[in-house]
């Protein structure tokens, strides 16, 4: 059976603006990403700022144009699909945004906001009061919230409104961009539990975008790590956590330590800052920051290599995994 | 920096060309034509034809515009209908009066406005701030010619502290200054309020920013924080507004020159309209447009000098 969503060698390119009528060049925010998301499963995309993770998500949601490659949803090509035809699919592919309050139109009531999908998709003749009540109950908000405005609710509540709105039309694929951003630790879990519950109830596939590896550990089936617009590692979540194959993954794991002062940490410190995507390093693009860099890394581009159940983009996974063994 | 200035000057040149062309077109499209404006409706066809030929109005429109630009570049805005003197000479003769009036007005109002704005922002919600606030808001939109008339009535006619008419004796600086007081008061008053409000608002915004908190956390003297750090940023929008404000001041100056019978561009235009001296009217409008474009350009360049982010194009 083929996957619900198949992404193949996708590039997203932006034009850089110069003067009034001129453009001075292009930058590739996403460069040749391929991944599959299975029906009813959760895929976590992890990366730091500038990794292209949000751009990739928006390309899948039809909000950015993919310049190359293909995005197949149930076998249908989404790239270059005219907006009029894409609109039909927007019932099935929905997105949740990073800023919980900022992603709600400020002058609309919560009721109008969560019933907007019906109106946009030509289903405005339904009993919207009932639908609003159903959706609010679904995400655990009191029905009275229908009359409020976005600025009158808290960030956590706004998140739930975002979920209600995304799931209003019973979609198949939910793209969640940093679903826990800005939430306190004690309520992050509520959000993730809600998503997990609704996934079980609705058979939803979820693509979670996050900068925090730990957030996706418990709820994803597969994770992909992005660096400078590329996937550098992918694999079953438990596999990646147990045996990371790419030094960047290890650095991310080490950067989110568990709250234990005695934990034996292998602190992987990356040197310097991420290079500008206007001037990509030659060879392995991670070599400028890699603590285990070898001469070959600055000249040869590593290829996507399958290893175990996952795959990675590193010349020498064996070198630093050995060093790790030495350290611990 | 240089590239920014060059780009900005290029834009100004484009605006000027467009403005002149647009002006020309509008004049052509609206009903009424220069010839009957000058000669009156009862002129004979021969006379009309002669004048049209002299003004180049008998040629096709694009040619007219082209000729107009050529002449303008040479500094030739045509001839006065009555005296046959070059319009450029007549208009430029009046420019200094208006320019001095405007510059003096913007200068005193900017200085006072910035000072009041800073005072209000620093002493936020104090009695002085509230008082300044109400006064500023009250004077902001009072039309300049109403202030002109009232100050004429009170200080020139009733109290006779200041002269009511003219710009003063040509060689006597003191007398000229004496004649400048009431007109520049009339034009500048609303700007004091406007600038004070603007500076107060942007000062308050800047004072709330993180870097001011940093400066305080390093114990920098409050004076340095206010004037060296906050005002440095808060002044930026004010500079732009003053640049644009020149346009409004040019308008206000027209009324003030009439009320105080001061020489200047405004008086020239009104006198020329009454005498149907159409080329002089056009010339004056053009020159004031140029003054306006020059002042906004200057304001943007000053802003670029003050703000490194503009220079870098960020």
């Amino acid at each position: 059976m083929s996957a619900l969503l198949q992404i193949r060698d996708v590039f997203v390119r932006f034009r850089l603006r110069g003067g009034i009528f001129s453009s001075v060049g292009t930058i590739d925010a996403v460069t040749g990403v391929s991944l599959d998301i299975e029906e009813g499963k959760t895929y976590g995309i992890v990366g730091e700022s500038g990794s292209g993770k949000t751009t990739l998500a928006r390309a899948v949601a039809g909000l950015h144009h993919a310049s190359e490659g293909s995005i197949l949803y149930r076998g249908q090509e989404l790239r270059d699909l005219p907006e009029a035809e894409f609109r039909e699919l927007r019932r099935e592919i929905v997105m949740m945004f990073q800023d919980p309050i900022g992603s709600l139109s400020p002058r609309l009531t919560i009721k109008s906001l969560i019933t907007e999908p019906f109106r946009i998709q030509g289903m405005g003749d339904r009993d919207l009061d009932t639908e609003a009540k159903r959706l609010l109950t679904m995400v655990g908000l009191p029905a009275e919230f229908a009359a409020r405005y976005p600025y009158q609710i808290s960030g956590g509540q706004a998140r739930r409104v975002g979920v209600a709105r995304a799931l209003a039309l019973d979609p198949k694929l939910l793209i969640a961009d940093e679903p826990t951003a800005g939430l306190d630790v004690s309520i992050q879990g509520e959000m993730l539990n809600l998503l997990a519950r609704l996934q079980d109830e609705m058979g939803l596939a979820i693509m979670i975008i996050t900068h925090n590896l730990n957030v996706v550990r418990h709820i994803t089936d597969t994770v992909g790590i992005m660096y400078m617009g590329k996937l550098v590692e992918e694999g079953p979540t438990e596999e990646v956590f147990a045996r990371p194959q790419h030094p960047y993954t290890l650095a991310l794991l080490a950067a989110n330590p568990e709250p234990d002062p005695d934990a034996q940490l292998m602190r992987v410190e990356l040197s310097g800052e991420p290079p500008s995507i206007l001037r990509r390093p030659k060879g392995c693009e991670f070599h400028t920051r890699c603590p285990f860099v070898q001469p070959r890394c600055s000249t040869d581009v590593p290829v996507w290599t399958a290893a175990g159940e996952g795959a990675h983009r590193c010349h020498f996974p064996e070198i630093w995994t050995r060093e790790e063994a030495v350290a611990s | 920096m240089l590239s920014y200035i060059l780009r900005r000057l290029g834009l100004s040149a484009a605006i000027t060309v467009l403005a002149v062309a647009l002006l020309f077109l509008i004049i052509h499209m609206i009903p009424g034509d220069p010839v009957s404006t000058i000669l009156g409706p009862k002129a004979s066809p021969e006379l009309r034809a002669a004048l049209e030929a002299r003004m180049g109005l008998d040629r096709p429109l694009p040619v007219q515009i082209g000729l107009f630009f050529m002449n303008m570049l040479r500094g030739d805005l045509g001839l006065d209908v009555f005296s046959n003197r070059p319009v450029t000479q007549i208009v430029l003769g009046q420019v200094p009066y208006t320019l001095v009036l405007i510059l003096v007005s913007i200068l005193w109002s900017a200085v006072l406005g910035i000072a009041l704005g800073c005072y209000s922002a620093v002493n936020r919600n104090s009695l002085g701030d509230r008082l300044t606030g109400v006064l500023s808001v009250s004077v902001i939109a009072v039309p300049a010619f109403v202030v002109s008339l009232y100050s004429l009535l009170i200080f020139a006619v009733k109290l006779q502290w200041f002269p009511a008419i003219g710009a003063g004796a040509p060689a006597d600086w003191g007398d000229q200054l004496h004649h400048l007081v009431l007109p520049s008061l009339a034009i500048g008053l609303s700007w004091v309020g406007y600038i004070a409000r603007l500076v107060r608002a942007s000062m308050l915004e800047v004072m709330g920013e993180g870097h001011i908190r940093t400066a305080r956390a390093f114990g920098l003297p409050e004076r340095q924080i206010t004037y060296g750090y906050a005002l440095r940023l808060a002044i930026l929008p004010t500079v732009t507004v003053i640049g644009v404000g020149m346009g409004f001041l040019l308008s206000a100056a027209v009324f003030t020159e009439i009320v105080f019978s001061r020489p200047g561009l405004g008086k020239l235009v009104i006198d020329s309209i009454t005498t149907r001296n159409y080329p002089v009217v056009m010339g004056s409008v053009l020159v004031s447009t140029l003054i306006f474009v020059a002042s906004t350009t200057l304001a943007d360049i000053v802003n670029a000098i003050l703000d490194p982010r503009i220079r870098a194009g960020k």
Binding site: F21, A61, Y151 | P31, F145, F248
Partner: protein, 292 residues
């Protein structure tokens, strides 16, 4: 949990009104503006005399019970002319600003939301039109077509378009980048829907503030042009022509100038106060704080 009753939020306009009347400045502005608009609307019933009819025996009177603000050189009652002058002022100001807002809104939204080249073009147009000094430009046009109210309206309207257009453009540009617009797109909202339901309502607030602050400017310009004899034609009463009469008679009687200036100053104060107060209410930064 579901039984909690929350206070019912006020409607948007109700909320604005509520905030306005609690601000002393706003309340003062609202009262003055209401008075001016009402006196202009009901001029025929309020004005004690015909504003045009000559009454030479009563000429150049100082204020007295029969003529509250005195009379002019033709014996016309100044108070009646002031009341009727308000009509002319609003007749000019309202269509001028409505027109400028309409055009500015459309052009500004196209510039802010549309492609970059169109934006550059429209901005160039705005900058060009803005560089005509309004009064000079108006005088040049009047010189050609002769003084009339419609000329005044048209000229001020055209030169005001950039003011509104630029504000709308800036607001649209920042709204376009806002996450909620992206969210609407992800739901499949059409451009028309995004513009109409999500952008326009967020632009109208600041635009209303700008309009309130701009009305006195336009009223002042009309009065100014009429003062120069380039606006309304006599004997139509306008605050500007009243002032012109007063200017010519400044050494005979101060009352005409005083009377002609007062309504202008009141209009200015009223609308500016209202605009300032409205700004505090509309400003989303300040609004957000009220909610917490």
């Amino acid at each position: 949990m579901t039984d909690i009753t929350l206070p019912k939020p006020r409607s948007e306009l109700g909320e604005i009104f509520h905030h306005l009347i609690r601000d002393p400045l706003g309340l003062a502005g609202l009262i003055i503006v209401t008075l001016i608009v009402a006196s202009a609307l009901f001029a025929p019933w309020i004005a004690p005399y015909d504003p045009i009819a000559l009454n030479i025996p009563d000429r150049l009177q100082s204020p007295n019970p029969a003529h509250l603000m005195g009379s002019d050189q033709l014996g016309r009652d100044t108070f009646s002319r002031v009341i009727w002058g308000g009509r002319v002022a609003l007749q000019v100001a309202l269509p001028t600003i409505a027109g400028a807002i309409a055009v500015g809104l459309i052009l500004g939204m196209i510039a802010g939301y549309g492609p970059k080249w169109l934006d550059s073009l429209i901005v160039l147009f705005f900058d060009t039109v803005r560089s005509f000094p309004t009064v000079m430009f108006a005088l040049a046009v009047v010189a050609l077509v002769g003084p009339s109210l419609n000329t005044v309206i048209l000229v001020i309207m055209v030169t005001s378009i950039p003011t509104y257009g630029r504000v709308v453009r800036t607001l649209t540009q920042s709204l376009k980048e806002a996450e909620f617009i992206t969210a609407e797109k992800s739901l499949g909202a059409s451009t028309a829907r995004i513009m109409g339901i999500h952008i326009v309502p967020n632009v109208l607030g600041p635009l209303a503030v700008l309009a309130a602050m701009d009305i006195p400017t336009v009223v002042g310009l009309e009065a100014g042009l009429s003062f120069l004899g380039m606006g309304v034609k006599p004997p139509t009463p306008s605050w500007g022509s009243l002032l012109n009469d007063g200017y010519n008679l400044i050494r005979n009687t101060p009352w005409l100038i005083v009377a002609g200036g007062i309504p202008l100053i009141l209009t200015t104060l009223g609308f500016t106060f209202l605009g300032e107060a409205l700004r505090d209410v509309v400003d989303p930064k300040l609004r957000g704080k009220g909610g917490k």
